[in-house]
Amino acid sequence: MKGLFLKDFYVAKKNLRTFLIMILAFSLGSLAVRDSGNFFLCYGIVMMPGITMSLISYDERYHWDTYAGAMPLNREQMVTEKYLLHLVMVLVWLPVLLVLQHFQQVPAFGGAPLTLLVAGLNLGLLLPGILLPIIFALGTEKGRAGYYVVLFGGMILATVSEELTSLTGYVPEAVAGILLFLLPAAVYGLSWRIAIRLYEKRNL
């Protein structure tokens, strides 16, 4: 799997500089603004699925996905490498967010580090957790429809979020906190297994 990481590193270094610059610019921008601190701080982690999706898209564009099928690699390794890569990016970025939050003029999320971690994990893992199996099953072109479905679902969720918030009163705060930590991990883990099964069935 080391060869796959190495290949993605070279591709990202050359093709995804814009992503990296945007993430850095918004993150550092979070130190300069008084309002919208949450948005600026979380922008980077919201953009990270874009990096992962772009790497998969480049694999298809260069026909690497087909070529890799001829190498001593199995489908599980190909899927796992992308999931691990994304997870590492999110986990490496979370401490950076905490440092930035500390130095913000008006600290995001009321200055609560745990809330920031929960938000970061959910933003960083839920969207790819839903999208990646669709993309591994259908490819990035057809899987783009999945992106809009997730976006539409997110909008509906945002609309009914007030009603959902009222339900949290029935759940003890500590339990809700643990659930919010576990949810993205569970979704991401389940998504990984599903993506492997779907990719194993796909014709390369």
Binding site: G3, Y62, H63, Y67, L73
Partner: protein, 282 residues
């Protein structure tokens, strides 16, 4: 183990195309040329052998491993060049060396560097700036640098100029000097296959029309140029293919089925393939 590849009744259906009940054997130490027009099923066959597609029916084994099982160990011993080169465009030779060295256990950086020199490939130029011929040569260098026992080459010579094709041919002949090395080479450029192959298989619209030793094929069939009247006197069972021209008739016939003493010219594999395909279309 006597056969590098054994295929029995391999079938794969796609919308608008089907590979039907393919039976094929590649003895170890030999080169098998898979000839067919575009869309005949050559790439499908190679992808099935590599486990990139799942067959609908039939079985196959590559270097003794069933294609339904875990092919990772056996893929260490297979070099592959696909018709679409699959490397990211920004990669240079040194980076390709590092990536492949991390993927293949038997990867040899020394062999890779020697192959780059032999094939006249630049080390400091990104892969995306390569010509089609250079890309194919890079594919071949990668395929050979991990010391494979079997090469699967899908249209590896198509789109190459004659000089590059000659380089590739030399490389393949060098590879098969070792008796344990085998090659399955698919192409629609028949002249390349005619130069290097021990066995020839014709694939047409997903069906195997013929598989035979090249020398047997060349000696079994002959080209008869005659008038239309003379052509009518030939036993139809002896005729493999026929072309009428304003000056007479060109027939490909089975040598043992025409009267002794009939003057027959030699037939090329390309002529044989074209005549057979056109005869089937009549």
């Amino acid at each position: 183990m006597n056969n590098a590849i054994e295929i029995k009744g391999l079938t794969k259906h796609f919308p608008g195309f089907a590979l039907e009940g393919l039976n094929l054997t590649l003895p170890s130490g030999c080169i098998l040329g898979l000839i067919g027009e575009n869309g005949a099923g050559k790439s499908t066959t190679i992808k099935l052998l590599l486990g990139m597609l799942t067959p609908d029916a039939g079985t196959a084994s590559v270097l003794g491993a069933d294609i339904g099982g875990d092919l990772r160990p056996v893929k260490e011993e297979i070099g592959v060049v696909l018709d679409e080169p699959g490397l990211p465009h920004m990669l240079k030779a040194g980076q390709i060396d590092k990536i492949m060295g991390s993927i293949y256990q038997n990867w040899s950086s020394g062999d890779f560097a020697a192959l780059l020199r032999r094939l006249d490939l630049p080390e400091d130029k990104p892969y995306g700036d390569f010509s089609r011929g250079m890309k194919m040569k890079m594919g071949l260098a990668i395929a050979l640098a991990h010391k494979p026992r079997l090469l699967l080459l899908d249209e590896a010579t198509s789109g190459l100029d004659p000089v590059v094709r000659d380089d590739v041919t030399d490389l393949l002949l060098d590879f098969t000097r070792d008796e344990g090395h085998s090659i399955l080479l698919s192409s629609h450029i028949v002249s390349d296959l005619e130069k290097v192959c021990d066995y020839i298989a014709f694939l047409h619209k997903g069906k195997l029309m013929l598989m035979e030793e090249k020398d047997v094929l060349m000696s079994e069939y002959g080209l008869l140029q005659c008038s239309l009247t003379e052509a009518e006197q030939i036993d139809p069972a002896a005729v493999i293919g026929r072309r009428d021209t304003p000056y007479g008739c060109r027939l490909i016939v089975r040598r043992d089925a025409v009267p002794v003493g009939t003057a027959l010219g030699s037939v090329s594999i390309e002529e044989l393939f074209i005549f057979m395909v056109k005869e089937e279309q009549v």
